[in-house]
Symmetry: C2
Subunit: 319 residues, 2 copies
């Protein structure tokens, strides 16, 4: 174990270098990572976690920036983790990041970290949630987890967030499609950004129709639709108000604890699987696999046979 | 074990109902799945596997359809697995499928299966590769694995394919970006579809520039760029020729066996991880997790502590 006591002490004091160092530790997912996260566990749970997802170009970063400025005026500290599970085809988000850094990155009460990788989306979300824990331990009041919606990551982030916002634009249009695909389940509310563009009213009408179809009583939260023009800073206060309203509703109906319990359960599962993976494919596991490989290529045994053998060998090794 | 001998016998005879039933078994990923795949292992390895990937709307399905018709004229049997790791935002591919079925789906020498899901991309690719084994056992000569490039799935498919084709269009333009993101490594060749559109020559020029920068000697395969207008059936023979040229090159330079070995290795790893996941989260594993949950929510133990306990308990249980 090699996580220094000093590092953790300075992290609690929100020392920027220690925050950056700690996030790098969880990002590298070394043995130090689980050590660090165990140690800081008692200090987390105070920050409110906001998930923001939506298609590329919907204005997620702009909304995050303005929302951050709004919270800063109330003297709240804001941590931002921007997750970019970039496909080779959608390209990166580096330019957006540079602009962002100039606007709010120099503020001492704001900490921004981008996490991007090709492949292994699951792993990326796990690391992002670990990084949120680091910011939580550093006493940030709000943590914004921003992710582009291309696959698994928006579901993972929704599971880790206290309030999840789905940002759409009139052009992404097909809100019916989005609904069918299950965004109903993850959105605590919708933001229709660029709401001065053609098609905005139709987009809202069709969103509303689908929301109406949902069964609900007074103990069920009903997602709202907030209109914004983020580039002109319009509708940002309304977003903050809706986050507050959702938080209050969750607390009043004792849904908050329930949600955190479910979050924790999913998180433990992911940690278990990630650790087991590492243990299996340690040096001796890799060697065993390489030795067995020939038998499969020659056609004597199926990969499913070999898999069984590897699991048996792993269990034996662990005893 | 409950996979009937009959089912497998009929699968080998390429009975359509048995193929469909067998693919459903691997798709449901039940215990029968690994039983079935073990049994058919000795009968696979003859089919040639072609991976086709690219951004949405690049024309992958159209190319697959025409390529299938071309191979059918040579009396080759073609199996198609279309993988759609659909994001809530990109929508589904059902319409395309219906059109496809009308065109080539009624041909006895063609078998088409679409696999789509939200989330768990890794799992989807594994099932697609299992389904390819089923088609291989049913004596299809060629298996086309078609996937939209949004994240992990195109990498998984490239690892499972003998020849991987990356389809681009002039509008997806940013070939430099695509290259940087690592498509160089997975493309055995590129297809520039809709090559009569503006920007085609520039797209090819920039692709070529980047390909030239790659180190190579006569024993390294150099990816080509094939121009097509798939909607007009132009360039399809050229694709088939390039696949053949790649296959011959791989065999002549003994790279083929090497590639299959690597494929098998990655595949075994995925099977092991999938099996272990199932074993851990069996009923007793879930119970143990639920009992531990309270300790985490109360803040006594971190999720990382509980994860260690769950792994220990799992190892004990397996002995």
């Amino acid at each position: 174990m090699s996580v220094k006591v000093e590092l953790i002490e300075n992290l609690y004091k929100a020392n920027r270098r220690s925050i950056a160092r700690s996030i790098s530790i969880v990002e590298n997912d070394s043995t130090d990572s689980s050590e660090l996260l165990k140690k800081i566990h008692s200090q987390i749970g105070q920050a409110y976690r906001i998930g923001i997802t939506g298609p590329p170009g919907a204005g997620k970063s702009t909304i995050t920036n303005h929302l951050t400025k709004y919270y800063r005026k109330q003297n709240k500290k804001v941590g931002i983790i921007a997750i970019d599970p970039t496909s080779p085809f959608t390209g990166g988000a580096l330019l957006g990041d540079r602009i962002r850094m100039n606007e709010i990155g120099i503020d001492e009460g704001v900490f921004i970290r981008s996490m991007a990788t090709r492949g292994s989306l699951g792993g990326l979300s796990k690391k992002a949630i670990d990084a949120a824990d680091v910011l939580d331990a550093a006493a940030f009041d709000l943590i914004i987890l921003e992710t582009v919606g291309v696959g698994q990551s928006e579901l993972d982030i929704a599971q880790a967030a206290d309030t999840t916002i789905v940002v759409l634009v009139p052009e992404s249009g097909d809100s019916v499609q989005a609904m069918k695909a299950g965004l109903m389940e993850i959105a605590d509310f919708f933001v229709l950004n660029k709401s001065d563009r053609p098609g905005a009213e139709q987009a809202i009408a069709s969103l509303q129709t689908i929301l109406m179809m949902k069964d609900h009583d007074e103990k069920t939260w009903m997602p709202n639709i907030i209109k914004t023009i983020a580039s002109e800073n319009k509708g940002i206060i309304e977003i903050a108000d809706e986050i507050k309203r959702h938080k209050d509703f969750m607390e009043a109906n004792k849904l908050f604890i329930q949600k955190r319990e479910l979050q924790m359960k999913l998180r433990i599962k992911e940690i278990v699987e990630s650790k087991i993976r590492k243990q299996i494919w340690s040096e001796s596991g890799e060697n065993f696999l390489n030795l067995s490989l020939e038998k499969v290529v020659l056609g004597d045994l199926s990969p499913y046979h070999i898999a069984d053998e590897i699991i048996e060998e792993f269990i034996k090794r662990k005893n």
